[in-house]
């Protein structure tokens, strides 16, 4: 008996792979883990039981990784995810791809079957290294316990530096339970990875000269501004040179929406002034945007008269879609600070400024209000009643575009949306991560009824942690964006886009212990929002909005950025 006891003690004093993992996470100051246990990660979960790191259990692994994305977007720190092997790991693939597209830093641990049975189609085995290779910035499989501290250190460095992105670490079960015979390695070794942050000064000067010469310049600011924490220096530069700013969907908040130099969001559902500025400019200064097709429309008609300058930390983005005359590789903030220091004389652009001002004034976003509650009205009300200070998290579809159009973000890092991948089911779990990253903020999750039903189960997490998230469902009883395209491009043949059966979302919320309201009119919306927005409790608001409403303006696929339809007459 005594001998046995001694043996256990000896065992517990030894440092296992799981211990190395936990201490590495603590060293990286990880505050929260979004994870779901299972067979292959049991040794890790046993150690987590004693750890001080907060663990959030989503009700589906996909919810966990989207929550981590929301957390990363708001906190600027990497989101940490744990999933078990096989199905646990494959359930987070969508989130990994989403983070890759939108450059969000994640460090994802997947359990793996024991090293001895890898490759034998063992229970809950999946080739996660192979599956995640095209959708990660980098991935590892731990092959030796002594490598664990080094690999985790490298993973955090890779995920957060340069252009951020997801890193996967595949963790075989026996290595989590095992003990290293050799001393562990901690020094990172990445000779092939040296992201350029300091831009080439000659290129910056060239850009500065182009600005001085320009007659019709415009800045296109993407999420690179947010990743570089460069929104204040962007404002300084725009004001110094008197340059107008257009945002991408993901860049929103990087430049204050109420600033006189702001033209609005550009792209497929962008505003007239922003799109026309991109079409007519003679100098386009892209800062941290990747010229996505939803922004550019038909490339033949994108900025056809412009000299294109592009500041990006990822050299592979420069010239990928749009030929670029002035490439600047480096951190957006660094580049802007250098531009400020050069301080060239501002361009002569009186005529252009007049044109832009007229476009902005004459062709704003518009809709016709009516008795039936309009989704645009809901977004306007949310904006007014939160004074534009909320963190807005969206799902994907019509509501996402209305949120982008009508919620005028004034500050950086208050906007969480799935842009590149366009992942339905993203919004609700992402709002959980956003709220955890900023517990005192007012978080509004703007969702469609379709996307909400893809991750409804995460209401349990909101209830469990009493997160005061305001869930606003713009309920049109349809997959609105699909319906809109079918109306316009498929002769109103609404193939499987209308939801014939819907549960009562209010009762569903109540089943989780969350208050719910059904809202059918503008008057009701006023009343309810006044009551609940400043509560410290979660609430679900089921806005029954006009199902026939479409998102405009719109650039049809294949059309140029100047060929918008649905512009205010």
């Amino acid at each position: 008996m005594e001998a046995a006891l001694k043996e256990t003690k000896a065992n517990t004093s030894e440092v296992t792979g799981a211990d190395l993992l936990i201490s590495a996470l603590e060293k990286e100051n990880v505050e929260v883990i979004f994870g779901y246990p299972g067979g292959a990660v049991l040794p890790i979960y046993d150690k987590l039981y004693d750890s001080k790191i907060l663990h959030v259990l989503p009700r589906h692994e996909q919810g966990g990784i989207h929550a981590a994305e929301g957390y990363a977007r708001i906190s600027g720190k990497p989101g940490v995810v744990i999933a078990t092997s096989g199905p646990g790991a494959t359930n987070i693939i969508t989130g990994i791809a989403d983070a890759m597209m939108d450059s969000l830093p994640l460090v994802v641990f997947t359990g793996q079957v024991a090293t001895g049975v890898i490759g034998t189609d063992a229970f809950q085995e999946a080739d996660i290294l192979g599956i995640t290779t095209p959708i990660t910035k980098y991935n590892y499989q731990i092959r030796d316990i002594k490598d664990i501290p080094r690999i985790i250190k490298e993973a955090f460095y890779i995920a957060t530096s340069g252009r951020p992105g997801p890193v996967v670490i595949d963790f075989p079960k026996d290595l989590a339970a095992g003990v290293s015979a050799e001393p562990v390695e901690e020094e990172i070794y990445l000779p092939g990875y040296q992201p350029t942050t300091e831009p080439n000064f000659l290129q910056v000067r060239k850009l500065s000269e182009a600005v001085s010469r320009a007659k019709r310049p415009v800045i296109l600011a993407g999420a690179g501004i947010l990743h570089a924490k460069a929104s204040s220096v962007l404002k300084e530069f725009a004001e110094q040179q008197n340059l107008h700013v257009v945002h991408t969907l993901l860049g929103l908040g990087g430049f204050p929406a109420n600033h006189e130099l702001f033209l609005g969001m550009a792209g497929m559902h962008g505003c007239y002034a922003a799109n026309m500025a991109l079409y007519n400019c003679d100098l386009l200064i892209n800062i941290g945007a990747r010229f996505d097709d939803r922004l550019t429309g038909n490339l033949k008609h994108f900025a056809p008269k412009a000299t294109v300058a592009h500041i990006d930390i990822d050299p592979a983005e420069i010239g990928k879609n749009v030929p670029t005359q002035i490439p600047v590789v480096g951190d957006a903030g660094e580049a802007l600070r250098q531009l400020l220091r050069v301080g060239a004389s501002p361009p002569q652009q009186e005529e252009w400024k007049e044109t832009l001002a007229a476009w902005k004034k004459d062709f704003p976003y518009h809709y016709e209000n009516s008795e039936v509650l309009k989704p645009q009205k809901v977004m306007e009300l949310l904006y007014e009643k939160t004074a534009g200070e909320a963190i807005v998290v969206t799902d994907v579809g019509q509501h996402q575009m209305w949120a982008a159009q009508y919620y005028q973000l004034q500050q950086a890092d208050r906007w969480v949306t799935s842009g590149g991948l366009g992942t339905m089911g993203f919004g609700l779990p992402a709002s959980i991560g956003a709220q955890l990253a900023d517990p005192t903020a007012c978080v509004v999750a703007v969702l469609g009824d379709g996307g909400f039903q893809m991750s409804t189960q995460e209401l349990a997490v909101i209830a469990e942690f009493k997160l005061p998230i305001k869930i606003a469902i713009l309920n049109n009883k349809a997959l609105g964006m699909v319906r809109q395209w079918q109306e316009i491009f498929y002769k109103e043949r609404y193939s499987h886009s209308k939801n014939p059966v819907q549960p009562s979302f209010v009762k569903l919320a109540e089943a989780y212990g969350i208050r719910g309201f059904e809202i059918n009119s503008e008057a009701e919306a006023h009343l309810v929002l006044n009551e609940v927005l400043h509560d410290k409790e979660p609430v679900l608001l089921d806005f029954r909005v006009d199902g026939a409403e479409n998102v405009y303006p719109m650039i049809a696929p294949g059309k140029g950025i100047h060929e918008m339809v649905g512009v205010k007459k």
Binding site: G130, T133, I158, Y193, P315, G319
Partner: protein, 171 residues
């Protein structure tokens, strides 16, 4: 057009998968890829021959390759003075009446016969792709039973004389 891209990579698990994956993900057309160890421990050299439509595309490929964490150095060496070599093994049926004829083709190409059996031989040939192609064309009428090609591997020459015609190769 054909371009030759060479790179050195850290020899970590999955690195080849990452490289080939990149080609298929970005829809690049790859003709051959050859991989092997280098003089440095833990570093491998990969040589790819790719078909691209324009210079912009090859620039994208090298940038995307450079972005990979394990890639140490990438270069498109097509416009440099280079030595490029490929090795093939070819099994050809040989009958008494055409034996001399086949050997007379092998000789000027400096190919070597590395295996002889009753009714077939295995020929080994090294050279630039054009030479290999020419040899295959000449042997084809005799019936090629099996053919294996390693794909091109290449180096820039020690002396890069600019403005000169592409230098010819010895051997």
């Amino acid at each position: 057009m054909k371009r030759i891209i060479t790179m050195t990579v850290l020899n970590r698990p999955g690195v080849l998968n990452r490289i080939t994956n990149l080609f298929s993900k970005r829809n690049y057309n790859i003709e051959s890829i050859s991989v092997g160890l280098t003089e440095q421990e833990g570093v491998s050299r990969i040589t790819c021959v790719v078909h691209v439509e324009n210079d912009g595309m090859v620039e994208q490929i090298t940038k995307q390759l450079n972005k990979q964490i394990d890639v140490l150095k990438v270069a498109d060496i097509s416009d440099q003075a280079i030595v490029a070599r490929e090795l093939i093994l070819m099994k050809v049926p040989v009958l008494p009446h055409n034996r001399a004829e086949i050997y007379s083709i092998i000789e000027p190409f400096r190919a070597s016969v590395i295996d002889v059996s009753k009714d077939s031989i295995i020929i080994q040939l090294t050279g630039e792709t054009e030479k290999i192609e020419a040899f295959i064309d000449l042997i084809k009428p005799y019936g090629i039973r099996e053919l294996a090609r390693t794909g091109t591997t290449a180096f820039p020459r020690g002396n890069q004389r600019t403005g000169q015609q592409k230098s010819f190769s010895f051997v």
